[in-house]
Each structure stands twice: as C-alpha cells, then as structure tokens.
C-alpha cells in the first residue's frame, strides 16, 4: 500500500543552536522505519523519470522498491551497479534539480526523498556488510587517473571493476579531492570518504599521494615511460578567483579554498591542530554558492559572533542548494543580499577591519538569463568585519595544460573534450569533472568519470 503523504518523512537533524558550535554531522539519517515509510511513497513509475535525472544512471525505483520491502542489502546491490560513492551522493547531490526534480510525486507535494534513501542504504551497508568488495580478474592494462576527487574516484572504480590496473595520482597528502579539502565534516564526515577510498583499494586501485602531475611527472611520461595506456585527467578546478578590489591581499582575507582547506584537510577546528586559522569576531563570506555556505557555516562553528553572506543578487538567484541556504539561516548566518564589496579596509597592522560595500539592484537579464545586478549610486556603506572569505568561484589549474603539449583548452583554461566520452585532443587522454566544466557539482563530475571509464574501456579493447 503506497504511502500517499504529500511530504517527505522529515530528516532528523541536530538542533541548530547546538550544531552551530560543533563539526558533527548536521543531518542524522533515517532510521530503518523512516526509510521504509518514505520508500513506500515511490510509485515505481515504469518510465522512471528519476532515473533519467541521475548523472550516474542509478536504477532508482529498483533500489527504493527493495527498501520498501526491507531488503536493504538488495537495495545496496542496485546502487552498487552504478556508483561506488552512494554514501557521498546521498549527502551532497543537488537531488532537487536532478532525480527528485523529475519525481512524479513532486508534481503535487514533495518528491520522494531519493537522496535520503540513498544515504540510508549506503550507511546501512557500511554498518552491516563485512565482506570485502569483489576484485576483478586483471586484464593486463594500465590506466592512470590524475586527481582523486569524485570524478577520478568514480572512473578508477569503474575501471578497476573491469580488471584494469588503475593508479590514482593525488597532489595533496590525502586522497579525496574536494570531498576532503572542501566539503566540511558536518556535511560529509571524512571517515566516509576514507572508507570509500579503502573500498577502492580493496578492489585493487593504487593511490599515490604527493604526486603533482605536470611537475614530478608529465602526462607524456606517464604514457611513454610508465606504460599507462590511457590517462584520465580529473584534476578539478582548484584555482581560486579573487575580485580584484583594493585590499584583497590584507591579512584576514582568505579564498574559500584556503579557509576550507585549513578547516577540513588540515583540521584547524580541532584544538590540537597544528594549523592556524583566524579567530574571528565578524566574518563576511562573499559569494552565494554551496562553497560560500560551507565557509560561512564553518566560520560560525569556529566561534565567530557574526557571519554574513554577501551576495550581489537576490535570494532567488542564490546558486546554493535550498537546503544549504536553509541550514545556514537556521544557524544564524546573516544574508546581505544585493550587496557587493568594492574595497577591503585594513588597520595599521595590515589586517582587515571592514569591507566597503555598495548596494545593488536588479536590472535587465544578462547572458545567463539572470537579472544583472547594477550598483545603486551613492549607496556605499561599511560592514565591520575582521575576516573575509572570497567564494566567487574557481578555475582549472594550469599545471597540466602547460606541461602537456597538444592538450587543447578553452579561454577559461578548461580542457576541451569531445563531449560524451571525455576524449581530449590527445589520443588516449581523457578528461572530466571540473577540469573540463569549470566548478560544478560532485555528481556531474562522477557522471563524467563514469562515461570516461566506459570510453577508455572501449578504446583499449578496440586498440
């Protein structure tokens, strides 16, 4: 009997007052009873519109059907066919614009909570399954993956399952890419990422950390000297953008990358961490994406009394996920919308003391279709802050493109591919994720990794 409730079974979560002072996970996850009840909201549509909204092609009605039957192990088997990172996706995917955005139940009421169910199944599996993942028989071919973020991990997992000897090269000292340095503990516990990587290792994937490809080894050396038949470039979009306004290099101004890396990768939130971070009273995070929300919520947890999100458009244009915005608001983050910084003001020691802003209003739509913000004359004011985090986007790192002859990139520095399968202008070299698209989402990067793995398999088999 289907559950005809118009709303999702609510997600238990930490009280905002309490969670804004700790780094523990905000959303606590469904119990088995909640999961079964929610799964019964799925109508099992034969056309599976949700499935078409999933970049990695999970058979969503099939896994939800098993949850409804309380066959959680069976549900995980369905997930496992399409993804190795279900515990991650269930937490960080923008489901509202993908699978859930296509759910028929969403036409009248809320869609089925596909993300929450995916998380439940992945967590259930982690807690209950103890057998090691299957290791495929080696097929004798070597593939190198550059970057261990979501795209690289997905590609490596799919290739390992086909029997390839896969080596993943990571520039930092810990694998995981943005899952480790970017997304905070309270949204994605690092233990989960560690477990996902351990699973890949059990499947035979080799991880080499501290390897900056383009510096210590080039793509050509990987292929010519080290015998990798294909290379998948998934090096992300790691280069932070700044606004180019006066005072941006004052002490106390961070890129979101630096701020989040200090907090997440280097664990600056722990009292025993060796990594310093500003002890702030008032923080302004400039930008309106998910990364900005993460930085603001970290600042709050680090003890800042006042944390602002400063965004030049209005609430409707805010690019962050609705859920992230709501969480931030619940935790007391103040949104200064239609506001744009024009100058960072410093004190006599060269530290930030304030941010001069100008009020904006929305004008005609621009190329992106969003109404363009224009400054309101004579509306400058000063926001008193002692820390600023610039979260206005990132672009791909030039280290690989500058050391790989013949690798075509566009004017933004993104690697150019043929579209579907991620083939670059170099034979045997594939690319995907943010390195190709510019900063996007975890799931799109995973989708690209999946497609590239299939294309690499086809290329090597047909060679």
């Amino acid at each position: 009997m289907a559950n005809m409730s118009l709303t999702k079974c609510p997600m238990p979560s930490q009280d905002p007052e309490i969670r804004s002072h700790n780094f523990d996970e905000v959303a606590l996850g469904y119990t088995a009873e909640m999961a079964v009840e929610e799964a019964k909201r799925c109508l099992g549509c034969p056309k599976k519109p949700c499935h078409s909204g999933c970049p990695v092609g999970i058979d969503i009605p099939a896994f939800i059907g098993r949850v409804a039957e309380e066959d959680f192990a069976g549900a995980y088997e369905v997930l496992e066919r399409s993804t190795t990172l279900a515990a991650v996706c269930g937490r960080v995917c923008p489901q509202e614009s993908q699978c859930e955005g296509k759910c028929v139940r969403g036409v009248k009421g809320e869609p089925v909570a596909i993300g929450r169910l995916e998380r439940f199944v992945a967590d259930w599996h982690r807690e209950h399954a103890h057998e090691a993942p299957k290791k495929a028989a080696p097929n004798g071919h070597k593939v190198a993956v550059v970057g261990s973020g979501p795209s690289g991990l997905t590609c490596a997992g799919d290739l390992a399952r086909l029997g390839y000897a896969v080596t993943v090269f990571e520039a930092l000292h810990t694998p995981g890419g943005v899952l480790v340095y970017g997304i905070p503990e309270f949204r994605l516990p690092k233990e989960l990422v560690r477990r996902e990587i351990a699973t890949l290792e059990e499947m035979g994937v080799e991880f080499q950390t501290n390897m900056v490809i383009g510096k210590v080894l080039t793509v050509d050396e990987l292929m010519e000297d080290m015998g990798y038949e294909c290379v998948y470039l998934a090096s992300g979009a790691g280069l932070p953008s700044f606004m180019g306004i006066p005072g941006e290099s004052l002490s106390g101004v961070y890129s979101a990358n630096e701020y989040l890396t200090r907090v997440n990768l280097m664990k600056a939130y722990r009292p025993d961490s060796r990594t310093p971070i500003a002890k702030s009273r008032a923080v302004a995070v400039v930008g309106g994406g998910n990364v900005a929300m993460d930085a603001a919520r970290c600042a709050k947890r680090l003890g800042a009394e006042t944390v602002y999100i400063v965004y030049r458009r209005s609430m409707d244009e805010l690019p962050a996920r609705k859920e992230e915005v709501e969480h931030a608001q619940e935790e007391g983050i103040i949104f200064r919308l239609l506001t744009n910084p024009v100058e960072v003001l410093g004190d006599e020691t060269g530290h930030v003391r304030g941010m001069k802003c100008i009020q904006m209003e929305l004008g005609e739509p621009d190329a992106s279709g969003r109404r363009r913000p224009v400054p309101v004359p004579d509306s400058e004011f000063v926001l008193e802050v002692d820390t600023m985090v610039m979260s206005i986007g990132t672009s791909p790192n030039p280290l690989i493109r500058s050391t790989t002859p013949g690798l075509e990139t566009n004017k933004h520095g993104c690697i150019v591919t043929n579209g579907e399968d991620g083939l670059t202008s170099r034979e045997g070299v594939y690319a995907g994720g943010d390195a190709v698209t510019g900063a996007a989402t975890v799931i799109l990067a995973m989708g690209a990794g999946k497609q590239a793995a299939a294309a690499i398999h086809k290329y090597i088999q047909e060679k």
Binding site: K215, S249, N257, R274, P276
Partner: protein, 280 residues
Amino acid sequence: MYRIVEKTSLNPTVTKMVVEAPLIARKALPGQFVILRAGADSERIPLTVADYDREKGTVTVIFQVVGAGTMELNALEEGASLHDFVGPLGKASELDGLKKVCVVGGGVGCAIALPVAKALHERGAQVHSVVGFRNRDLVILEEEFRACSDKFVLMSDDGSAGEKGLVTTALEALIQAGEQYDEVIAIGPLVMMKFVVAVTKKYNVKTVVSMNPVMIDGTGMCGGCRLTVGGKTKFACVDGPEFDGFEVDFDEAIHRGAMYKDFEAHAREEACNLLNQEVR
C-alpha cells in the same frame, strides 16, 4: 618513503637534511621548492630545494628551527622517514644569459642562495656572493659559497665574522666600486630583500628576490601565498617563488607573514614544553 639519509646541524638552529625522493631529484632545479610533513598530523612546510643528486635520488633541504613544525621536523633523525614530501614546485630560477651576478644571501636564506650561485658558477657566469649573518655562530655554508664565487664577502651584524655591517652596505660598496651586474639575486628575510631592492633601485640593477610566504598546497589551490607584484596579485607557489624585486610589495608581504604570529608563538611554546618533557 622519503627516508632521511643524512642529517647535519649547520649551526645551533639550522639543520640540513638529505632526503630520499628519486622522482623529485630527477626533476628539481635551483629556485624550486618542496613541501614536506614530518608526521601524519604535521603542518605542511614549504622549503626551497638546497641541493639535489639525480643519481643518488636525493633532495637536500635546509631549515631553521623557528616554530613547532620545524621543531618536530628537527626531532627526526637519520634513518627516519618524512610522512610527506612533494615537489618540485614553483618555477626554476631563470639563469639564461646571465654573465655576471651578485648573489645576496641573508641567514638561512643562504641555503637557497647557494644552489643558485652554484648553478651560475657551473654555467660559467661570474659570481659575487655577499652573505650576512647575525654573528659568527650562525654562519653557514661559508666554504661552499667560497668554492663557487669569484668574489665572496661575509658580513655580520656584530662583526664577529667577516666585516661588521649589513649585506646592503657591502652590495652598495661593490656597485659603487664599479662592479656591473646583469642581475642581483637576493634571498633572505623579507626586510633584507626589501632593503637590497632599495639599494639596487638607486643604481637600476635588475634584482630578483625569492619569496617564501605562508602557503598550504603549493599548487595554486589555496591562494594563501598571494603577493602583490607590479600591482597584480600573484601566487608565489606557481608564479614564483622568484619575482622581480622592483615590483614586489614587501610591506604587504611582511604584514601577511605576521598573520599567525600569536598562534605560532603559542604552538612553539607548547612544542618546547613537550620536547623538554621528553628529554627528562
């Protein structure tokens, strides 16, 4: 991984470590740097490559024990291994076409200046070296500098080694005596480099400085190492670490370098206490 094959104390606070890192040794060039971590929870410490041996597969770093991180690093002995060692990062020194160069080193910065002087000497350039230390006990690499320099001037703040005075005094004297340098390469504390540039600007002698700001990843990701050079924002890790000294905003770099002073002082004190307890 990354075994310490040799550890030598150059002076009471400066240590030289030769580290097994064959892939990096194969590629490293003067002017580039590595980032290392002593243990699994340690800070990432950027250090400019002091030497490398492509055949033995080793990279040499020289560091001053200044804070908790370098204390922890200095506690590792020969035979032990570093947890992480990544590189070679940054751009190599641009030495092509230089015929006569004055290399100015200050304190532990001499460790980075030496490979540049050596490389120039090996290329047949005329090398004048001016190195400065606070006092005689802190002098490092004197013999090595003499071996690759056509002229060598040693300065100390108190006159206990070489001549009394600052490197800038010696440099200015050389320029005034008619020495014509294609370039001055200054590597040392920010204040020293700032004043070297103040001298060379007067005589319009091109000056390259090596910047060593706070950084995390060393690959362009964090932007923490940004500097203002010629009015533009540059990342020391990927655009440098060497820059045209005339263009660098030193005052800003000095402010940024002091950002974590309090935290560092506290961490240093804790590390001292910890190490003292271990000795007992």
